[in-house]
């Protein structure tokens, strides 16, 4: 081929692709724009969340004052508490005050525990995070291969088995599954420890000997070298994480199966087979590589829903997580705690959205 291509006078064969993107100024500008839009959406979403939750908290027929002073208080005590809580002011003023406090990092004091809400969240949220994370890992590790196998053996017995197992996960209420799991593995077989985050003796060691680096019992005990506490914390995690992970697995495998079926029907799959690519590579590299693109959203959304929605699991397993905390706060008309918890869950959703955006650009070159 000569340098002046006479067969290609119009240069149709010339690469019409953008120059390689290194750390160019354009790349930096794009990153800056992304960060700015993230911060903006974070602020707007949290503000909206705060407003709605605040209004709901103020219109529900629950009396936070009564929750504080009890129903035997005199009218004078009641009024004093009402003023102290700031509930005598007009609602807009209450809201402005609350937002101002939140901006300075003060989420108020929880009547339920007598502690600052922020501290309570720092104690409960890591537990929820541990539970949801392990459940999601379980869901990914079992769900993706399950979905792939189901798609490859579409309609045959491995597919049917996986589908029935998944359907069971879908249709059983989580609290029931949790109770049955406790009954079998704790009550009858004695393989798993009972409800709670730690055994009482380990709880004692944890309270006094373990340094709180992260707030996560598992991480902190490992970092402090308290291996008895670590083992016990993991043992307590297995059963609730398995129950939650079952649901995650059911959902992820179902979605993986349908994304894989879609990808396996594509022409590039046939092209790979034409090249002589072994079937395992066609499935696990070509098809799954493309199915991962929509799967990322599914996985992140399921993770987010486990973070906010594991209230029932936390209740059944007496798991001191955020879901249980917020629910108890709600029953006790402890609105500072409810608002704080809601805020954290909302922020988590936004962070996970960002995470899914980042993962997207890694998996899909078209999104870059």
């Amino acid at each position: 081929m000569t340098s002046t291509n006479i067969d290609d006078p119009r240069g149709l064969g010339r690469a019409r692709i953008p120059p390689s993107r290194g750390r160019s100024s354009r790349g930096l500008a794009r990153a800056a724009r992304r960060v700015a839009s993230f911060v903006f959406s974070l602020a707007v979403t949290l503000f909206g969340l705060l407003l709605v939750t605040f209004l709901i908290a103020r219109v529900v027929p629950l009396d936070p004052v009564l929750a504080v002073v009890g129903d035997r208080a005199t009218q004078a005590q009641y009024d004093a508490a009402r003023v102290e809580l700031g509930l005598d002011r007009p609602i807009p003023e209450q809201f402005v005050r609350y937002v101002g406090d939140v901006l300075t990092g003060d989420l108020g004091t929880a009547n339920l525990t007598g502690q600052p809400v922020l501290k309570d969240i720092g104690r409960t949220f890591p537990n929820t995070l541990e539970l949801a994370t392990f459940a999601t890992i379980l869901g990914i590790v079992l769900g993706i291969p399950g979905g792939v196998v189901g798609a490859v053996y579409q309609g045959r017995w491995p597919d049917q088995v996986i589908r029935v197992v998944g359907l069971l996960g879908y249709s059983m209420p989580v609290f029931w599954l949790g109770l049955v799991a406790l009954l079998i593995f704790y009550g009858t077989l004695g393989w798993a420890p009972g409800p709670g985050r730690l055994d009482v003796t380990q709880q004692f060691t944890y309270e006094f000997d373990v340094t709180r680096y992260t707030g996560s019992v598992i991480l902190d005990s490992a970092l402090s070298g308290a291996w008895d506490v670590f083992r016990n914390a993991v043992a307590h995690l297995i059963l609730p994480a398995a129950v939650l992970g079952y649901f995650s697995m059911a959902y992820i495998s179902r979605m993986t199966r349908s994304f894989m079926l879609e990808q396996l029907g594509q022409e590039y799959i046939t092209a790979a087979r034409v090249k002589g690519v072994p079937e395992w590579r066609v499935i696990w590299v070509h098809a799954l590589g493309n199915a991962m693109v929509p799967l990322i959203t599914v996985i992140v959304l399921s993770y987010a829903s486990l973070l906010e929605g594991s209230v029932l699991t936390e209740t059944v397993f007496a798991w001191p997580g955020l879901g249980l905390y917020v629910t108890q706060a709600l029953f006790a008309a402890d609105f500072n705690a409810v608002l704080g918890g809601t805020l954290v869950i909302g922020a988590m959703f936004i962070v996970l959205n960002l995470l899914s955006d980042i993962l997207y650009t890694i998996v899909d070159p078209r999104a870059r």
Binding site: A15, I17, E267, T270, A271, R273
Partner: protein, 283 residues
């Protein structure tokens, strides 16, 4: 109807492809026979005539619920019926390859061009890295892509249609196969690019002395491009004719295909409607 070629690369006898549907079996290809040597054979027919299915059946790429049957299906003397998957893979890609219709769908969107071309080489005997790179670049040069270094790093969505199809051709020919099945290789491209891609394909086939099965719905295109033309209708070969004798075609369906194209300088009358007769099904 087919004279046996002693030096045939590919020999097909009574090939049929059947799909079991709820309303009973449907035959997409109904007992066709032909040979392909180191020559260029065109398969022409309207959509649904079974021409694409024929190409895929040869490569063993008809998936369930489709079933392939033949009394003879040999490539270079190797019986490809019921060949174990491992040995079939050795033929596929390495000795018989296929260029597909639309590069937008036939290239993996999340893999770079370089990896996709390298994969074709790598699955057949793992050559060293620098050899893979050299052969990939040479191949991209052969399909007249400028700046092949950059194209190797590009993703399919960053290529134009014409470039995508050149990459497809490069990917399928980099292993230097002896027989190429081109399934409507230019139908998805702009008219302006079609001829260039065809010329590149023609050039490569000629220089390497490959056999070519050119599948198309465009009878005139096929006749300028191939030595021999098989005309398919409803899963059967209704006529086999040398390309330069196309005007002597006897079968009314072939004549119909020829006549339904307008001619420059021809009359301005209505174009004739393509005749389809039930009887031809069993011709």
């Amino acid at each position: 109807m087919t004279q046996a070629h002693g030096d045939a690369l590919l020999s097909v006898r009574d090939l049929s492809v059947t799909f079991d549907t709820r309303r009973g079996p449907f035959q997409a290809v109904r007992g066709i026979s032909f040979d392909v040597g180191r020559e260029r054979v065109g398969i022409v027919g309207e959509s649904g005539s079974g021409k694409s299915m024929t190409g895929r059946a040869i490569l063993g790429l008809v998936r369930a619920p489709g079933r392939v049957a033949a009394s003879c299906l040999t490539f270079d003397g190797i019986d490809m019926r019921n060949l174990p998957e491992r040995q079939m893979r050795r033929i596929r890609g390495q000795r018989v390859s296929m260029v597909m219709q639309d590069p937008r769908y036939s290239l993996n969107p999340v893999m770079t061009v370089g990896r996709q071309i390298a994969e074709a080489l790598r699955v057949h005997g793992r050559p060293p890295r620098d050899e893979i790179r050299r052969r990939s670049l040479d191949m991209l040069n052969e399909v007249q892509i400028r700046d092949p270094e950059r194209v190797l790093k590009a993703y399919p969505h960053e290529l134009s249609g014409g470039m995508g199809q050149r990459v497809m051709i490069a990917m399928m020919l980099v292993t230097e196969p002896e027989l190429l099945i081109a399934d409507e290789p230019t139908s998805a491209l702009d008219v302006t690019v079609q001829l260039e891609v065809l010329r590149i394909l023609d050039d490569l086939v000629r220089r390497r002395g490959m056999g070519l099965i050119f599948i198309s719905h465009d009878l005139r295109l096929v006749s300028t491009f191939c030595d021999r033309v098989l005309v398919m209708y409803r899963g059967r070969i209704v006529e086999e004719i040398e390309a330069r004798r196309l005007h002597e075609a006897k079968h009314p369906y072939t004549q119909g295909l020829l006549n339904c194209l307008p001619r420059i300088g021809g009359g301005h009358g209505d174009l004739p409607t393509l005749q389809r007769q039930q009887a031809w099904k069993d011709a």
